[in-house]
Amino acid sequence: MEHTTINLTLKVWRQKNASDKGSFQTYNVKGISTEMSFLEMFDVLNEQLIAEGKDEPIAFDHDCREGICGMCSMYINGRPHGPWHGTTTCQLHMRAFKDGETVVVEPWRARAFPVIRDLVVDRRAFDRIIQAGGYISVNTGNAVDANAIPINKKDADNAFAAASCIGCGACVAACKNSSAMLFVSAKVSQLALLPQGGPERQTRVLDMVAQMDKEGFGSCTNTGACEAECPKEISLENIARLNREFTAASLASEE
C-alpha cells in the first residue's frame, strides 16, 4: 500500500475535569503517516505536548485498539468514530484525511455520559442498564447439555448480530435526543431471540427500558443516526423488536 505523510490542524476539546467548563484548543501535527491509526496520530500529538511541556497531554479512552473493546470514543468532525462506516476510532486510519485538513475532535456528548476529562466520558450508565436485566439468570453449574436445545440458524445468527454490540455509546452520541435505544435493543433482541432467554423475556425489557429512562437518555424518534454511525452496524430492526417486546410485555403486565 502506498503511503504518504500529511499535516493536520486539530481542534480538540479540552476539559480539566467534570466541573470545568471546557473549550477547544488548536494543535498542529506534521508528518503524519497515512498508515497510522487515528489514535496513533493522537499518540504523536501527546508525545509532542509532553516534550513541549506547555499543555498536558490529551486524555482519551482506548484499550484494545482492534475495534472490539468499545473503549475508544471520539466524536470526529461531527461524527462518532469519524468518517468511515462501520469503524471504531481505533480502526480509523489516517488515509481517511487529506493534507492540510482541519479535524475537530470532541467527546461523546450526552447528559447520561458526563465528561471525566478531555475526551473521556463516564459510561457506567450502560453497566447499570445491563444490571437491570441484560442477562439470563442461570447460576454456574445449572446448565443442561449445550446441544439439548437446538436453535434454528436464523435466530442464532440474528442473536449473534445483535450481540456483537461493543457498548461504546456511539449510538447515544449520534442521536439528537441522546437515546440509548440501539444499545438496549441489541441486548433485548439477543436474549429474546434465544430460547434460553424466554423465562425472563417480559421483565427484562420492562426493567431495562425503565433503567434507560432513569439514567437520563432521551427518547427514540426513529431517525436512524444510531444505525448509520454504529461501528458494528447494529440494525434498527432491533429497535423495532424492542418496541414489540415492550408492548407485549406491557400488555401482559397489565393483565
Binding site: 480539566k16 489514535l39 484494545c64 480502526q91 453497566d127 454456574t140 443442561v144 442473536a159 450481540a163
Partner: protein, 658 residues
C-alpha cells in the same frame, strides 16, 4: 521455602472428582461473612466474581477500564476448545488433555491439564445457557472448527468474536450479581499493592484512576485475574492497558513467578508498518484452517503475489510438516516464518512478512457452493464470487479488519502476516488449588503459569480462563476459607493497611518528583526493543546477558529521567502508565534471567544453542523438566525454586508435527 503443588493422590482421572468429594465446605451462613477481592474482569475474573457471588460470598471486583466488559479477553477471536466430541471424530477428555500437554512441549502439570479437559464441556453448556450465541449448523446444533496442533474439530466459536461473546456472557452474569448486591464493582481502579497480615493476603491498596486517591480494601482472600504481560515487549497483540503490575506487586510480596520466559509469539499478525506502531493486530489462527501460507521460492522476489505462479511458490509449512501442514502449533509456525524471512524470502515493503493466501479456499468453497446449488457450467468468475461469499460468512470481520488496517483487499490479494507477541504462558506460580505461594492469594487465567506449559494451543486460553473462574476456584477457595470463618472482617486502619498505603504513596510521589526529560512511552519502546531483539523468538546466552545489563541501565535512567506531566490527584493516564512501565522493566530482567537459565528449547522458548540439525527445538528433559518458580529476594536478585514435572500418564517424547 519449599513449594508444594498439592496435587491430589490417586489416578489421574479420579483426582479432581476425589478432591471435590473431600474438600472442605463453607456453610451458606458463613459465606455471607467472608469477603473476596477479585482484581481483573476478563474471562477468569468475571466468571469467578459471578460464580462466587452466586455462592453467597461478599465479593468486590476491580478493573482499570471504564467497564468490566472492556477486559482484553474480549479481543480473542478464534474459539474455545471443549472435549464434547459432537463431531464424532474421536475426541475425548484424554485426547484434549494429551494434545494440551504435547502442545505445551511437556512443561505443564498433568493433574491441572486433565482437570481443565474434564471441565471443558461444562463451560460450553454454561455459556450456551447464558445466551452466548455460538455458531450453529442448519440443524440448530453447535458448529465446530479445527485449530492448530490438533487433528479433531473441538473448537466452538462465534464468528471471529468468540472472546467477545464469552466475555459478555460472563460480564452479564457478573452484572446480575452486582444487581443482587452480592458483588460490588469498582471500575477505573488499579490495584497497586497486596496487603499481608500474618503472612496471609488480607486486602489490597487500589487507586481510583479518576480522582487519583488511594483506597484500602479488606478481603479474606484475594484473587488476581489480571491477564498476561505481553506488553513488556511494547508491541504485542495485548490491549494498551494490559500490564503486569498486579502480578508484579504480588511477586514482590512473596508470590513466586513461574516460567516467566515462556512467551507465545503468534504466527498470524498484521506486520509492523512503521515507527508509529502502537500495537499489533492478530488475525485469528482459524484463518490457517483455510488459508495457505507461502513465500516466493526466489529470494528478494519483488513481483506482485498474483504474478508469482504456483510453481514459484514455497508453501513451506506444508513442505516441512506434511501431517499438520498449515495447522502446526503456533510456536512452530512462528519460527518457520522467521526462518524464511531471515533467509531473505520475506515479502512486502519491510520484507518481514509472509503471505496468507485465500485464493485456493475461495475457489474450493465456490465449487462446493455451485455443487450444492446444482449449477453446471458455471463460469470461473461466478465460482469465485460464490466462494468469496462463503469466506465472508466465516471470516468476514477479520478480512474487514485487515482491509481497514492495511488498505488492501484480502479477497483479492494474499494477506501479509508476521509473528507477534500474543500470550504469556508464564505467570504467578500456583498450586493445584490456584493459590500462589502467599496464603490466601490466588491467580487465575493468563495471570497464572499453570496449564499451557511452554506453548499454548489455539482456543485454549478462553477454556482455561473460564475453567478457573467457573469451575475450579468455587471449589478450591472453600478449602481455604473454611478455616477462615472465625476471622472477622478487619478494619482498614490496621497498621498493615496504613503501611502498605504509605509505601504505594511514596512510590507515586517519587515518580512524580523525577521531573526528567523523557516520556514514559519512550522508555517503554526501548524496553520493548531490547526484549524483542534479545528475548524474543530466538534467544542465546550472549544476547540475554547483554539484555540484562541493558535493562538494568534502562531502569536507572527511568528512575532519574522520566517525565510525567500533570499531578497525582487527577485523571492522569501518563502517571498510570509510568507505574506499569516501571514494573515491566523489572519483569523484563527476570524474563531474561529465566531464559538464560533454561538452556534448552521448548515450545515458545527457543534457545539457539539447543536445536536439531533441521532447526527444530531441542528439549532437554534430563536437566529442565521442571517449572522454574522464581522467588523475589531483592533488587535484581531472585532465587530459583524448581517444581519437578512428573509424567505418569503420558509417555514423554520428542514433539513432532511432521
Amino acid at each position: 521455602m519449599a513449594i508444594n503443588s498439592k496435587i491430589p493422590a490417586g489416578d489421574l482421572e479420579k483426582k479432581w472428582e476425589d478432591y471435590k468429594g473431600h474438600v472442605k465446605l463453607v456453610n451458606p451462613a458463613n459465606k455471607r461473612n467472608l469477603e473476596i477481592i477479585i482484581v481483573g474482569t476478563g474471562l477468569a475474573g468475571a466468571s469467578a466474581a459471578a460464580s462466587l457471588g452466586e455462592l453467597g460470598y461478599k465479593v468486590k471486583v476491580f478493573c482499570f477500564q471504564d467497564s468490566p466488559r472492556r477486559a482484553h479477553s474480549i479481543a480473542a477471536q478464534g474459539g474455545i476448545n471443549a472435549a464434547k466430541n459432537y463431531q464424532n471424530d474421536g475426541d475425548s477428555v484424554f485426547r484434549l488433555f494429551y494434545d494440551t500437554i504435547k502442545g505445551g512441549d511437556y512443561r505443564a502439570r498433568e493433574a491441572n491439564v486433565h482437570r481443565l479437559a474434564e471441565v471443558s464441556a461444562n463451560i460450553i453448556d454454561q455459556c450456551v445457557a447464558q445466551g452466548v450465541p455460538f455458531a450453529r449448523e442448519y440443524g440448530g446444533l453447535l458448529s465446530n472448527r479445527s485449530f492448530g496442533g490438533t487433528q479433531v474439530q473441538r473448537t466452538f466459536y462465534a464468528a471471529g468474536q468468540t472472546g467477545q461473546q464469552l466475555l459478555l456472557g460472563a460480564y452479564s452474569a457478573l452484572e446480575r450479581q452486582v444487581a443482587l448486591g452480592n458483588v460490588t464493582q469498582y471500575t477505573r481502579h488499579e490495584m497497586l499493592d497486596i496487603v499481608k497480615i500474618d503472612g496471609k493476603a488480607r486486602g489490597i491498596i487500589a487507586r481510583d484512576l479518576v480522582s487519583g486517591k488511594l483506597e484500602r480494601h479488606f478481603g479474606h482472600a484475594v484473587l488476581l485475574c489480571t491477564g498476561g504481560y505481553g506488553n513488556v515487549f511494547y508491541l504485542s497483540t495485548n490491549a494498551m492497558g494490559s500490564n503486569v503490575t498486579a502480578a508484579w506487586k504480588a511477586h514482590k510480596q512473596g508470590a513466586f513467578f513461574g516460567n516467566p520466559c515462556f512467551t507465545q509469539i503468534h504466527p498470524t499478525c498484521i506486520p509492523v508498518s512503521g515507527d508509529h506502531q502502537s500495537k499489533l493486530t492478530l488475525m485469528s489462527e482459524s484463518l490457517r484452517n483455510d488459508g495457505r501460507i507461502w513465500v516466493p521460492k526466489k529470494q528478494g522476489d519483488n513481483r506482485k503475489p498474483t504474478d508469482i505462479t504456483e510453481e514459484e511458490r514455497d508453501y513451506y509449512l506444508e513442505r516441512r510438516y506434511p501431517a499438520f501442514g498449515n495447522l502446526v502449533p503456533r510456536d512452530v509456525a512462528s519460527r518457520a516464518a522467521k526462518e524464511r524471512c531471515d533467509a531473505g524470502y520475506g515479502v512486502g515493503a519491510s520484507k518481514m512478512a509472509v503471505y496468507l493466501d485465500y485464493a485456493a479456499a475461495i475457489e474450493r468453497y465456490g465449487k462446493i457452493e455451485a455443487g450444492k446449488q446444482g449449477l453446471d457450467n458455471v463460469s470461473k468468475d461466478k465460482i469465485i464470487e460464490m466462494g468469496k461469499e462463503v469466506v465472508k460468512e466465516k471470516y468476514g470481520n477479520l478480512f474487514d479488519m485487515y482491509a481497514k488496517i492495511t488498505g488492501e483487499n484480502p479477497y483479492e490479494v494474499p494477506m501479509r502476516i508476521y509473528p507477534a507477541v500474543h500470550y504469556t504462558m508464564g505467570g504467578l506460580w500456583v498450586d493445584y488449588e490456584l493459590m500462589t505461594t502467599v496464603e490466601g492469594l490466588y491467580a487465575l487465567g493468563e495471570a497464572n503459569f499453570s496449564d499451557h506449559g511452554a506453548n499454548r494451543l489455539g482456543a485454549s486460553a478462553l477454556m482455561q480462563g473460564l475453567a478457573d473462574g467457573y469451575f475450579v476456584i468455587p471449589y478450591t477457595i472453600g478449602n481455604y476459607l473454611a478455616d477462615e470463618i472465625r476471622t472477622k472482617s478487619m478494619p482498614t486502619d490496621h497498621e498493615a493497611f496504613v503501611e502498605a498505603e504509605n509505601k504505594v504513596n511514596a512510590r507515586i510521589q517519587q515518580l512524580m518528583s523525577i521531573k526528567g526529560t523523557k516520556s514514559v512511552e519512550s522508555f517503554h519502546k526501548r524496553l520493548g526493543k531490547i526484549m524483542w531483539d534479545k528475548c524474543g523468538m530466538a534467544r542465546n546466552a550472549e544476547g540475554l546477558q547483554e539484555a540484562i545489563t541493558e535493562i538494568q541501565a534502562l531502569k536507572k535512567e527511568f528512575w532519574s529521567d522520566v517525565k510525567i506531566p500533570g499531578s497525582i490527584n487527577e485523571f492522569n493516564p501518563e502517571l498510570d502508565k509510568a507505574g506499569r512501565v516501571a514494573d515491566f522493566i523489572e519483569l523484563g530482567e527476570l524474563m531474561c534471567k529465566d531464559a538464560l537459565d533454561r538452556n534448552e528449547s521448548c515450545g515458545g522458548h527457543f534457545r539457539e544453542e539447543s536445536q536439531t540439525e533441521e532447526g527444530e527445538a531441542l528439549r532437554d528433559d534430563e536437566n529442565y523438566k521442571y517449572v522454574a518458580a522464581w522467588e523475589f529476594v531483592g533488587e535484581s536478585d531472585w532465587k530459583l525454586n524448581k517444581e519437578e514435572l512428573i509424567y505418569e500418564n503420558i509417555k514423554i517424547a520428542a514433539r513432532s508435527y511432521k
